[in-house]
């Protein structure tokens, strides 16, 4: 039986304490122990970005992170992002642009979009596209996703 370690961290602004096996991933901890099902398991090896979360304000693949290494950190998941004004705004843009089909990639895409626009609020379409290199979508063909994020970065003045 693998060792159990108690860790404490902030999850979406709230202090949480949990006991995890040593080899557990942050993704398994969030989904299976903390009921945060917004973060998705796609590939489990860093290729798809469906599991993207923010750790100390940088996005990472939660499938590649050891849960024990969450100790002391500030973690945001899609549930936290969705409750922010930026998240609501992005959410609306994704819906309006038809950027969601099956929706499996959407939480990871939104987490990464937040990172790209936080680092560079004036990101160009090409910069947004590069920032999303680590996120796969098998449905939309990406165009509508990029349009939605661009609309948040550069809202049209008419507000249409």
């Amino acid at each position: 039986m693998s060792a159990l370690i108690e860790i404490e961290f902030r999850l979406n602004g709230i202090s949480r304490r949990v006991t995890v096996p040593l080899q557990m991933s942050a993704l398994e901890m969030l989904r299976d122990m903390m009921g945060q099902h917004g973060t998705k398991y796609g590939c489990g090896e860093g290729e798809c970005g469906a599991c993207t979360i923010s750790v100390d304000h940088r996005t990472v693949n939660s499938c590649l992170k050891f849960a024990v290494d969450c100790n002391g950190r500030d973690i945001q998941t899609i549930e936290g992002l969705a409750a922010t004004p930026f998240g609501e705004n992005l959410n609306r843009a994704m819906v309006e642009h038809g950027a969601v089909q099956c929706g499996f990639c959407t939480p990871g895409i939104m987490m990464q979009a937040q990172q790209v626009l936080t680092d560079n609020p004036d990101a160009s379409p090409a910069q947004i596209q590069r920032g999303l290199e680590g996120n796969l979508c098998r449905c939309t063909g990406y165009r509508k996703i990029l349009d939605a994020i661009e609309a948040v970065a550069h809202p049209s003045p008419a507000g249409d």
Binding site: M1, S2, A3, I5, L22, Q23, S25, G44, E45, G46, E47, G49, T52, R58, T59, V60, N61, C63, L64, K65, F66, V68, D69, N71, Q112, Q115, V116, G131, E133, G134, N135
Partner: protein, 288 residues
């Protein structure tokens, strides 16, 4: 994977070295390679997981004594955003800019990329061309011992290095190239992001009178480790970079490599890539 039984998350280098001195431990840095390895049992785990993320002194980039010194825990994203790297080591900057994806760059560390010793490790080819060395520390509370090794000696095989079990890689040192230094880096893969190199190569040297002096040539994913092609470097040093010399450099590089055939490419295709891309960067670096 073997059962992990103990966990240590020290806050200082001395404590981390103490853990390594007291018995076999698997080192956790960014985790981006360790986690998939732990799932596929590609790596045998020691009973102790040593998480070094809390050792703040292993982070950051300094410029000192004519060298860029990079702490082992510095992430690829930090390197990509650092002006000392961008200006002082553009080939390394390029490799960091094309490393995996944003999410992985935010977690992966340079020390981890080196210690994984993948023949296709993205930072290794630029670091070899820059003549980088690594600093290995051992000891503990009673004192810290350091030794320094050229990266080319540190990499001993696929996934194998000269790191002793009680040692931790703490720093990478890159001598700042002399003025007039030029370099080129190419990584060939099938898509821009998240790709493991089919091959990678980097060339550097001081351009003087139509010849490339102090030339260095490094190749990745064509041998058990990323390598320097010393014979090809000697051919470069012998005279002006004309067409005949380029042919001889390519021949010497071809003799230095031992590509395998795998899912990414055949041995034959890797050699073709080396010939053509090397020819291209040689022509590009000295256009006449």
């Amino acid at each position: 994977m073997a059962e992990l039984r103990n966990y240590a998350a020290p806050r200082s280098l001395a404590e981390a070295l103490q853990v390594l001195a007291s018995g076999p431990a698997t080192v956790l840095a960014g985790g981006t390679d360790l986690m998939p390895q732990s799932r596929s049992a590609r790596v045998r785990f020691a009973p102790t997981l040593l998480n070094i993320q809390g050792v703040a002194e292993l982070r950051g980039v300094r410029r000192r004594d004519g060298a860029v010194e990079i702490g082992a825990l510095t992430t690829i994203a930090t390197l990509r955003d650092d002006p000392a790297v961008r200006n002082g080591a553009p080939v390394l900057w390029q490799a960091c800019d094309h490393f995996a994806s944003d999410q992985i760059r935010n977690a992966a560390t340079i020390g981890g990329n080196i210690c994984n010793a993948s023949p296709a490790g993205d930072t290794l080819v630029p670091l070899l061309v820059l003549d980088a060395s690594v600093v290995l520390a051992s000891g503990g509370a009673a004192g810290i011992h350091e030794r320094r090794l050229p990266l080319s000696e540190f990499l001993t095989g696929p996934g194998r290095t000269a790191r002793r079990p009680e040692e931790l890689l703490v720093e990478v040192r890159i001598p700042v190239p002399a003025s007039g230094w030029v370099d080129r880096y190419v990584k060939f893969g099938t898509r821009p992001a998240l790709d493991i190199s089919t091959i990678a190569l980097a060339l550097g040297g001081t351009l003087f009178d139509g010849r490339l002096e102090n030339a260095r040539l490094a190749l990745g994913a064509v041998a058990p480790t990323a390598i320097r092609a010393h014979d090809a470097e000697r051919v470069l040093a012998e005279g002006p970079l004309d067409r005949a010399r380029i042919d001889r450099v390519v021949d010497a590089a071809d003799a230095a490599i031992h590509p395998i055939s795998d899912v990414r490419a055949s041995d034959w295709y890797r050699r073709e890539l080396v010939h053509n891309l090397l020819r291209r960067i040689l022509t590009d670096v000295c256009p006449n």
